[in-house]
């Protein structure tokens, strides 16, 4: 049964000249698990908003064409009935919670629907049990972790029993384990209650194989719509980069369907490498690393925001020029706090912080780009922002950096209006222009598509080249870490529990491991990232292609 039917649908935001969605023709079926993918700025979020009529009801703007929901024009539905039918979960969990009390927050939508108290009580209890929230009922909503908050937001929608749940990058702010939990919940909802799920997601590895259909948006148009396996063929044929890691590794290397999951990939490998002594093959290439002098160090540093609640405990480490260091750990492990201490915005409660300020010649020794990159910008335009903090030579350096990043046109624009990738680049350009030698980045890959991530990775490599700078970044993105890190630091509940070269750090890991490492585990444990995996496949197969098992 067709649930949504979009015909020649276009939408333009009030402030934009270009339409965000252009002449979309798309049908969405009841009970589908639909994955909506596309590069930053392709219109995914706008389409998600349009499907629950936030566009144009909340945002204004102009529409043309039509969206039908259950064979009725979407604009003909009254707000209350539509809210019963469709629910949307947004990226940022904090702004979706309205009450300090978790139970009351879940009941908020039901109150707005004017439901009877007894019905509300039953639904709230049932939803809390289904999502495993009952043990948290006495907690205040601001005391919850990011994953728990997102679960409460989902519970608030779920309690309204919608036919459709639209999830707009619900895992982008979460660590891998919490993200996995949310995706699993959405899958359960789809399978156990037949709820239609429309998931907008950038991190494809964890959800691509779960989808019944993938819709690719590009520049506001539907570029592709079909099952995941066909999407992969389509993408490989066109060299389209937005595909998950496993099929990307096997792209052009298999006859037949590309493997989607690590399991399928391993079966594929097993069938073709059984007769080969993989360990006898030459080692995978590890790029040469030039490590320079020490730029910063921490000696038994402890820190807590409250007495007797340490966030960092006796952390000791040294950072050398030329290194790209990934800081891993669950939410709350102390990653952001460590970055702030190195940036000098927090003072250690105990222990010593040493920064190479002599070499900085009065310039800031460290520059931090925060997780919420929009907060980094202080001025109304990039130019105004730069004038607040840079002198004439700094402005000239910034111009050069912006040209290098292809952001010359952003000079007169509000940096907050740039795409996610461009915002990160602009913040990085400003930090590089300030001549900070210690670049600190907090979750820089959040919200970035694969192409933007690769661009960012290359920029960081360039920044660290020739032992010019040290890059330390906190991330949950294991694929990015495996690809670009030279060293990995792992924090757990404020304690530094591992500080190793990336190749060693990804050994024997399960959750904090890359797809490539999982794929090759047991076949060739030296493979840790996508590049090495493709290289190893090339060595294994030469010009041959893998045969895919039936």
């Amino acid at each position: 049964m067709i649930l949504y039917s979009l015909k020649d649908f276009s939408y333009r935001y009030r402030v934009d000249e270009e339409p965000a969605l252009k002449q979309l023709d798309l049908d969405i079926y009841a009970g589908e698990f639909l994955l909506l993918v596309g590069p930053s700025g392709s219109g995914k979020t706008t389409l998600a908003r349009a499907l629950c009529r936030l566009v144009p009801d909340f945002y204004g703007g102009t529409i043309s064409g039509e969206i039908r929901y259950r064979d009725r024009l979407l604009q003909d539905w009254d707000a209350r009935s539509l809210a019963r039918e469709t629910g949307i979960v947004f990226q940022v969990p904090e702004t979706q919670l309205f009450f300090p009390n978790l139970e009351r927050d879940i009941a908020f939508g039901l109150e707005n629907l004017g439901m009877e108290n007894q019905v509300m009580k039953r639904r709230v209890a049932e939803t809390m049990d289904f999502l495993g929230l009952a043990p948290l009922r006495d907690k205040k909503t601001w005391e919850l972790s990011g994953g728990e908050k997102q679960k409460v937001a989902l519970a608030g929608i779920l309690a309204m029993r919608p036919r459709v749940i639209i999830a707009d990058e619900p895992t982008s702010q979460l660590d891998p384990i919490a993200a996995e939990e949310i995706i699993t919940l959405l899958r359960r909802l789809n399978q156990e209650s037949g709820t239609t799920i429309i998931l907008v997601e950038q991190r494809l590895d964890r959800c691509f194989h779960l989808a019944d259909r993938v819709v690719v948006l590009d520049s506001g148009r539907v570029a592709f719509s079909g099952p995941p396996s066909r999407q992969l063929e389509w993408a490989v044929e066109r060299g389209y980069p937005l595909i998950p890691t496993i099929p990307a590794i096997f792209a052009n290397r298999v006859q037949g369907s590309l493997p989607l999951t690590v399991k399928e990939g391993r079966e594929c490998l097993a069938s073709s490498t059984a007769s080969l002594d993989v360990q006898a093959l030459p080692a995978v290439t590890i790029p040469a690393r030039v490590i320079g002098p020490r730029l910063a160090s921490l000696e038994r540093v402890s820190f807590g925001y409250r007495p007797k609640q340490p966030v960092l405990k006796n952390v000791s480490l040294a950072l050398h020029a030329g290194e790209i260091i990934m800081l891993l750990g669950a939410n709350g492990a102390g990653k952001s706090t460590l970055l702030k201490i190195l940036a000098g915005t927090l003072r250690p409660a105990r222990g010593t912080l040493w920064l190479d300020t002599k070499r900085a010649n009065g310039r800031p020794a460290a520059g931090l780009v925060p997780q919420s990159v929009e907060d980094f910008f202080l001025g109304d335009t990039l130019e105004e922002d730069a004038r607040l903090v840079l002198d004439a030579s700094g402005m000239a350096r910034l111009q050069t950096q912006l040209e290098r990043f292809g952001l010359e046109d952003a000079w007169k624009r509000d940096p907050r209006d740039l795409s996610c990738g461009e915002k990160q680049q602009a913040a990085l350009a400003l930090t590089l222009a300030s001549e900070a030698r210690l670049l600190l980045l907090d979750e820089p890959t959040l919200g970035l598509d694969v192409v933007s991530k690769d661009n960012l990775g290359r920029m960081l490599q360039e920044a660290a080249t020739g032992a010019a700078r040290t890059v330390l970044l906190a991330t949950h993105d294991m694929e990015f870490a495996s690809e670009y890190a030279t060293r990995v630091i792992f924090l757990h509940q404020g304690e530094l529990i591992a500080d190793q070269a990336v190749e060693e750090a990804l050994d024997d890991q399960f959750f904090y491991s890359s797809q490539a490492a999982r794929l090759f585990a047991g076949f060739d444990d030296r493979v840790k990232n996508r590049r090495q995996a493709r290289e190893r496949l090339a060595t294994l197969l030469g010009r041959e292609s893998l045969r895919v098992l039936p």
Partner: protein, 295 residues
């Protein structure tokens, strides 16, 4: 649920404390209520809040006593004269009146603190029911978003400091730096408000008449509490308004009237032992942002 009583009976009970604090002028009664209020706070696990309150409240109280003693010239028994050629006269009645007012002020603070602890904003919304006005809802939402804004403010100051846009003169931020902070805080507040409004609309807010989710059940004990409140308030009105000679006065000695009031007060403060302390033992670290603690 906060405590074992319904939010409406809790509100009435606290209202009654407030009423008694304002009505009685007998220092012993006020001190008894004050001590009971402090024990109440202790029972709720709020000693630290009480200490913070005393830190702010005690200087104020001393000021009240001092000003009354110096400027209140209503009295008969002179305690001390001197200064300015003997024109400064301190009367016993003025000092006692100052003391009564000081204790009363402290008691009002304690009752307000109890209110803040026992009736958080979301309970207040429940008390207001489905007819809760937009202002009540706005107040609840503000309570929810204030910690978030506090975190954003600190984060913004850190960014300004880190980017060298936080020049300090004599330990204070320079005016331009304050301007930048204000402008960006305004922008962030609007952004949070906008995102919240969008999420509210998605959850059918303002789509028609609302109902109210009642978590709390009115029980027999709530009737008991209401009865006790009415009795205490009635007794107070009777002794202070109808037969004031029994309760009025600044004497520290007990009169039969005051003894009766004390018995009534003892009865009145008993229910406080049935209020449950706030659920504790949970980590207050906001693990999403790592730096974010509940301040």
């Amino acid at each position: 649920m906060q405590g074992n009583f319904h939010v409406r009976s809790t509100l009435l009970y606290l209202g009654c404390w407030f009423f008694l604090a304002l009505l009685y002028n007998e220092v012993i009664v006020l001190v008894a209520l004050l001590v009971a209020g402090m024990v109440f706070l202790g029972r709720l696990g709020q000693f630290s809040s009480l200490l913070r309150l005393l830190k702010v409240g005690l200087p104020l109280v001393l000021l009240v006593v001092l000003l009354n003693s110096l400027f209140n010239q209503n009295g008969q028994q002179i305690l001390w004269t001197g200064l300015a050629g003997g024109r400064l006269v301190i009367y016993r009645e003025a000092v006692l009146y100052g003391l009564v007012m000081a204790v009363k002020l402290l008691l009002v603070f304690v009752v307000l603190l109890l209110f803040q602890i026992l009736v958080p904003m979301d309970r207040l919304l429940e008390a207001a029911g489905p007819r809760a006005g937009k202002m009540v809802f706005l107040a609840v939402l503000t309570t929810r978003l204030l910690p978030e804004l506090g975190r954003k403010s600190r984060s913004l100051l850190e960014i300004q400091q880190m980017r060298g846009c936080h020049p300090r003169a004599g330990g204070k931020m320079s005016l331009p730096a304050v301007g930048i902070w204000l402008k960006n805080m305004l922008r962030i507040s609007l952004q949070i408000a906008f995102q919240s409004a969008e999420a509210m609309q998605a959850r059918a807010f303002a789509s028609g008449p609302r109902s109210c989710y009642y978590r709390e059940i009115w029980q027999a004990r709530d009737w008991g509490l209401v009865g006790l409140c009415l009795l205490a308030a009635g007794w107070a009105v009777g002794t202070v308004v109808v037969t004031p000679e029994l309760a009025q006065g600044t004497s520290v000695g007990l009169t039969p009237g005051v003894e009766g009031i004390m018995v009534m007060m003892a009865l009145f403060i008993v229910p406080m032992v049935f209020f449950s302390p706030r659920p504790t033992g949970r980590a207050h670290i906001n693990t999403n942002t790592e730096e974010g603690l509940e301040f």
